[in-house]
Amino acid sequence: MISFPLLSAIVFWPLAGGLFVLAFWRYPQVGHRIALGAASVELLLVVSLLLLDLHPQGADGWLMIEDLPWIAQYGVRYSLGLDGISLILLCLTALLGVIAILASWEQISQRPGVFYFMLLFTQSAVMGVFLATDLFLFYLFWEMQLIPMLFLVGIWGHEKRIYAALKFFLFNIAGGLLMLAALIGLYLLHGRQTGDYSFALSQLMQTRPAPVLEMWLYGAFLLAFAIKIPIFPLHGWLPDAHTEAPTAGSIILAGLLLKTGAYALLRIAIPLFPGAAHRLMPLLLILGLVGIVYASLVALGQKDMKRLVAYSSIGHMGLIVLGLAVWDSLTLSGAVLQMVNHGITTAALFIMVGMLDERFHTRTLADFGGLWKSMPIFSAFFLLFAMASLGMPGLNNFVSEFLILVGVFRAHPVIGSLAFTTIVLTLIYVLKLVQDTLFGPEKQQHCRDLSFREWIILLTLALAVIANGLYPQPILTLVHGPVQHLIDQAGIITLPEAGSMMAK
């Protein structure tokens, strides 16, 4: 064990940094610098985790844990646990934290101190979600991430920002509160069964509710997570929130907040209620598939670039849902990887749309055309990320998508095949996005290409995109152990041998 509470430091450092920024709110010209410093330190902290020689400990295979009593009366503990999955998501969070600050460097002129505070606050909460192993603590972080996001969208957003912010908040909190009820129910049930009132995930996992009750409880958890992911048809909040949010808000929203939903489904909902989860898997499978198709179709019609990217998010998350619904080592590894990859790719696309918005003050596709002429570097990056987003092999999304698709195919050949066809649907809207902006006669005014700061942002993300696409093995190795552990825990591998099915 390491005596320094590194995990807590990782969780709370951004918040501390944010408060520090807030303390300097009278000096707007330093806010972003302090924030960048804080986020960079956070990144270093997370990277230091990667450098440490960590080995799984104990039966649950945590790489690192912190556990302290908190509210003894209710068996609530302050316990954080790190495994490969959380580690990789922490990396994503820390990276996007830095990127988000860089991306808002010039965009946010109004009350920057508060802005960066909110940004860092969200980062803290997301870190907490990825690390908490006590469900009470988890819930705390889970809801907490909504609050700064509310302000980020509501204060620094675009025209319909207040509507979007409220919608985002109410959708998510509604799910959250129902989950809280289910959580309390599970907690009480566990207490009654064992006499030990505890919110520890590992403890609650031992509970075996009656099937009907389990269904209800799982339903509530699923609802909360499905809203966050979001799974069709609960996605209503997402396009508005994304469209109205400032760039950094979109980055955090798409890059991190959606991931918390998928992560929670993976880490919490399904392992807690394997029976109910197993029975509802077909539903998830169908919803995931429908979500991809639906989002791809709706994305095609969009006139606002940001909205288009937002719908593409729904589609990509649908793939993760598919992966979770099949629940084997291929799809789960793929799903985790997809979380990371989608985080990077979509964040990059949002950043680029944000850059266009900064330059031309419009996001309407019809206003653009022939950008390549005046902004070749920008356009090259744009093309790269668009290709990543449509699953071009060699770029990051392909690996994760393919793992998921192969896994789905192995379990359900028909659904897998249908899911494969959606790569065409994705292509259609991504190419529309690329074509309407980069190609054709030049419509907008001539404009400067990337600044050095923008270049750095995009280069970082592009390197991540390529690295993950060509050499995803480190992440896959990291994730493999925890994924196996999850599968063993939930124990619902009942896949028929697809090969024999095909043979008939």
């Binding site: 009350r111 809801e143 908040f169």
Partner: protein, 473 residues
């Protein structure tokens, strides 16, 4: 004798402090307000201090008052509420020229009445406490001279309060007639008086109606919005927190003493009222355009949540209610208090639209208001979250699933109107230059205390929880 003295000391200090302030005011015409204010603050501190120093000294004074850990806890709570009210209202009252001896003295008397309610184990003392609080508040509400809404609020509160008191007192008479004792615990002994069962229940229902009226459960809530709106904001804070917490302490006592026997018969009625209160309170609040009225409906709804947990008194409901009433007190003190602090001199800042841009013009106070609203909404990391969690936990533990679900659904609805204020504070551009708000160290101290307590209870509730477990046991 010695111990009984000590036990009564907090109460005596409060009453004496009030009397001294009255006395000074009567004989010293040009008395500096600061002196009286200091005296009042000192009285509160002394009373609370003695309650802290000598808790648990005498459990029962001649069967009339129980100065045990339970009442000591409440005494400390009431003195803190009073103290914060004083801090919040000092500058406010000075600006509006009612910071005289009567204002400060009456507040102290009201707080003595609250202590009395919490400590009473005899109906007479309960009645006296109730009347002390009520009569003091009739005056306090109308203390701002020439203030139309204030007068109207006082009048309404007075008429309704008097009728409710009559209900309570007649109920006590019925109980007494049925059981022959005024000791609360014995008078609730349904099994011991099978012949007078009807009379006892009749009396008890009269009392409950009176009490439900005081804590404004639906359908007895109609006075609440008017009174909260009309009263000066710091007084509303005091009114909304002090009386309700005091009466909730009485409810807890009743539940503990008579919950199993007579209480079980009232459970369906209380269930209905609790659900109605949550639904009506939260939904009506949606339509409000005035902050104080909105907060009034929110406070109605909060009472519904507490009533829900109270129904689970056999489980952890009692602890939950006590904890939540503490939390509730500070949330509403903070909310109404900041409304007062943000108000211009002419009238309270009431219309929600007037809060536009205040988040930046008055960052500290707006932040506190936001914090209190978040806490009222039950968002995490605030005391309100832990409180709501405990309430729902208790309800679910007692298998009140329907009630808990209603509670959760209405809580979702409630988020909208709480957020709406936050939206106005921060997200809508300020159209006009906001007027200056009340400043002063007292107010800042109060704000700081409230924020501290809300965070403290939200993040580290353990200590309070163990204390509550101790006093309930």
């Amino acid at each position: 004798m010695q111990t009984e003295w000590l036990a009564l000391l907090p109460l005596i200090i409060l009453a004496a402090g009030g009397s001294v302030i009255f006395g000074i005011g009567a004989f010293w015409h040009q008395v500096p307000t600061a002196l009286l204010f200091g005296l009042a603050v000192f009285t509160c501190l002394a009373s609370g201090g003695t309650a802290l120093l000598f808790p648990n000294v005498a459990s029962n004074l001649s069967g009339l008052l129980a100065m045990d850990a339970y009442s000591s806890f409440y005494t400390v709570l009431f003195t803190i509420i009073t103290l914060i009210t004083l801090l919040l209202s000092y500058q406010y009252a000075r600006q509006r020229a009612f910071a005289g001896d009567e204002f400060l003295g009456i507040i102290l008397f009201a707080s003595a009445g609250m202590v009395l309610i919490a400590a009473s184990c005899h109906w007479l003392f309960f009645f006296l406490g109730l009347e002390m609080v009520s009569i003091s508040l009739y005056v306090l509400i109308a203390i701002r001279r020439g203030d139309g809404p204030g007068i109207e609020a006082a009048l309404k509160y007075f008429v309704m309060g008097a009728v409710a008191s009559a209900f309570v007192v007649f109920g006590i008479a019925m109980l007494y007639g049925a059981t022959g004792t005024l000791v609360i615990m014995k008078s609730l002994d349904l099994a011991g008086h099978p012949d007078n069962r009807f009379l006892l229940l009749f009396g008890l229902s009269l009392i409950l109606v009176g009490l439900c009226f005081k804590i404004s459960l639906v359908p007895f809530h109609l006075w609440t919005p008017d009174v909260y709106q009309g009263a000066p904001a710091p007084i509303t804070a005091f009114l909304a927190t002090g009386t309700k917490v005091a009466l909730l302490s009485m409810f807890v006592r009743l539940a503990l003493y008579g919950g199993d026997g007579a209480g079980a018969l009232f459970a369906p009625a209380l269930w209905t009222m609790a659900s109605l209160t949550m639904v009506v309170g939260n939904i009506t609040a949606l339509a409000q355009t005035r902050v104080k009225r909105l907060l009034a409906y929110s406070s109605i709804a909060q009472m519904g949540y507490m009533m829900m947990a109270l129904l689970a008194f056999k489980h952890t409901g009692v602890a939950a209610v006590i904890f939540y009433s503490v939390v509730y007190a500070f949330m509403d003190l903070g909310a109404f208090g900041t409304v007062g602090l943000l108000s211009p001199k002419e009238s309270d800042r009431d219309v929600i639209a007037d809060y536009q841009g205040l988040g930046y013009a008055q960052p500290g106070k707006a932040a506190l208001l936001t914090l209190c609203l978040f806490s009222l909404a039950g968002l995490p990391a605030t005391a309100g979250f832990i409180g709501k969690f405990m309430l729902f936990r208790a309800a679910l533990e007692a298998n009140l699933v329907g009630l808990a679900l209603i509670g959760i659904l209405t809580a979702i609805i409630s988020l909208y109107f709480y957020l709406n204020i936050v939206v106005v504070l921060y997200m809508r551009p300020a159209e006009k230059k906001p007027t200056s708000a009340i400043t002063g160290n007292e107010a800042s101290l109060a704000c700081f205390l409230i924020a501290l307590i809300i965070f403290w209870l939200g993040l580290f509730p353990s200590s309070i929880l163990s204390l509550i477990e101790k006093i309930v046991a």
